[in-house]
Symmetry: C2
Subunit: 349 residues, 2 copies
């Protein structure tokens, strides 16, 4: 056994270290290049004896087909790109997992990246994926102008947007019913007797945030409740500011008796604020959160099915790739109100 460290084996001059190619395998097996290709791809027309010799050479050399070259030749990469906002957000875990499962079922690999909610970074990522010639893209958009994708769409890159619609281009999109979900959630609070209901959500330039806000306003209007500006806090997302926003709403001489929160991160922060608050304030949050059922009270939420969003989008992507798809479509998945207690707290006054 040699005692030189493993990595010293590398021959720096050689690309890919020093990987054997089909040519090397062919030489060693004493056959033609194409015969190796046939064996590697399981094509018919190779004598068992020849195949054995080739296989032996492959194993001896540790040959692995170079898919880059293959892709160049064949024009299909068998990979799709996923651009999302933040992998660490628990909402995107199941979504990306679902996309991956579908990709796997179609024999494709998943390449992904996070935009960190930055439109430039989104574009950079998408174009990098296109340069890789991914067969298709699933995009959770951060920006609101996707005209930069026009050449790609024209060139046949299958594209599906998820969670938020694309801006200024026409493409498939799979959404949750943000408007309806929020409206139902707020209506639920109203049905339990609340009239002064706060809303804390993200910047309205984000489609989901705008829709949820619209749902809130619709529910209030349906109930004939005029909304005070001080009940709405928009564009607030980092914990410290959410905390302050919630506390201000509660400190009012005529405080809100319930809060509707626009996404999971906001919900968690508001739960913390309410935990230190003695008066019973009702809470309904958009997006489910883990352990919501174990808190006191359990957290009532409007849940979206992240996995279903991902699955639906990916399946549609592969139908585009099959060529069986026609015009771009907008698919909206329903949300589900999960009552656990916090949304059923009666108004304090």
């Amino acid at each position: 056994m040699p005692d030189t460290p493993r990595r010293a084996d590398r021959i720096p001059g050689n690309r890919y270290g020093n990987r054997p190619t089909m040519k090397d395998v062919a030489a060693r097996a004493g056959v033609g290049l194409k015969t190796v290709s046939r064996v590697v791809n399981g094509e018919a027309g190779v004598t068992p004896e020849t195949e054995r010799r080739v296989q032996e050479a492959i194993d001896a050399l540790g040959f692995r087909r170079n898919d880059s070259a293959r892709v160049l030749r064949k024009g299909r990469t068998a990979s799709i790109g996923l651009v999302l906002e933040d992998l660490a957000d628990p909402f995107y875990g199941p979504l990306s997992r679902a996309v991956e499962e579908v990709a796997r079922a179609h024999g494709a690999l998943l390449i992904n990246g996070s935009s960190a909610e930055d439109p430039d970074r989104e574009q950079e990522l998408v174009l990098a994926l296109c340069a890789r010639r991914v067969d298709g893209l699933v995009v959770i958009p951060a920006g609101d102008d996707h005209r930069y994708l026009e050449p790609e769409l024209k060139a046949g890159v299958a594209t599906v947007f998820v969670d938020r619609p694309p801006g200024r281009i026409d493409a498939d999109v799979v959404l949750s019913d943000n408007y309806g979900g929020a409206r139902d959630g707020v209506a639920h609070l109203i049905a339990h007797g609340h009239r002064r209901i706060g809303f804390i959500g993200d910047m309205p330039r984000i489609h989901t945030a705008a829709e949820r806000l619209r749902g809130y306003q619709a529910a209030m209007e349906d109930a004939g409740i005029p909304v005070k500006d001080s009940w709405m806090s928009l564009g607030v997302t980092d914990p410290e500011r959410v905390r302050r926003a919630a506390e201000e709403m509660l400190a009012d001489p005529h405080p809100v008796t319930a809060i509707f929160t626009g996404n999971n991160r906001v919900t968690v922060t508001v739960i913390r604020v309410l935990a230190q608050h003695d008066r019973g304030v009702a809470l309904v949050g958009f997006d489910d959160i883990e352990l919501a059922d174990l808190l006191q009270p359990g957290v009532t939420v409007v849940a979206q099915d992240a996995a279903a969003l991902g699955r639906t989008a990916a399946e549609r992507l592969f139908r585009q790739l099959d060529g069986t798809l026609l015009a771009p479509e907008r698919i909206e998945l329903p949300t589900r109100l999960v009552t656990r207690g916090s949304g059923e707290v009666p108004p304090a006054d």
Copy 2:
């Protein structure tokens, strides 16, 4: 505006739809092929006027460099592969996010896949990534024999294992101090007066599970407490069986007064069981869980820093790629005991 659907634009015969190549751009700009290449790559030696003409042609045609061809030529893909167990597990979100951040800082894309804890699927994925000629691999292993990676390592594919060590090969690995963390967690329970302490964890064939079990046993032995077999439940991971295991431990005439849980999923289930239980049973869990601080009582955990694991591994990977690294190394990151209440409950009897 034409009313034919967008996708009808595709010319099916052409690879990649009908993407323009550098040749097309060159023809349109009336320059040589290499000049286009120079402009695209920002190389020196092109007159501003020529550059302008080329750029114009690029924009007009919607040209994007084909990275497959580039990779073939250059030998570096500027991408790394990440193989993990389950993207939907909240533990892996931050980890994979951290890997992605480091990759991004080095200008690399991340290709990932889930093994679903299946060794065959892990191997399949890893080899698919190698066929893509990723520059490096970050692997959270599912299997315990990685000799199939030997040709890859020899060929210079940088490889770092995370969370669990590789089997039967020598390679870099970044781990949490599972043994020490579990020992400390259990010692914490003992320090609070517990002597009958249960352990519920995953199959000991999984390295982390085995180490945590070892930590449990060490702490008990250090305290001179003989462990009864009925206190240990191994290889139990799906919620229903965890529930049964916990209930059995508590139903014993001489029941455990505290439980140490071996991972986040087990912890969550046990929390549910304890919530329906009136006697105060102490709990310390391995892995932090969200909202653990808001439960009654707060959940005391041995927290690992998933992001740090990912970051450390990825950084080490890129140091391998820089060529500044020598022998494989084993890096162990410390865990942190976070006391929140559930671990400080005194024994019931």
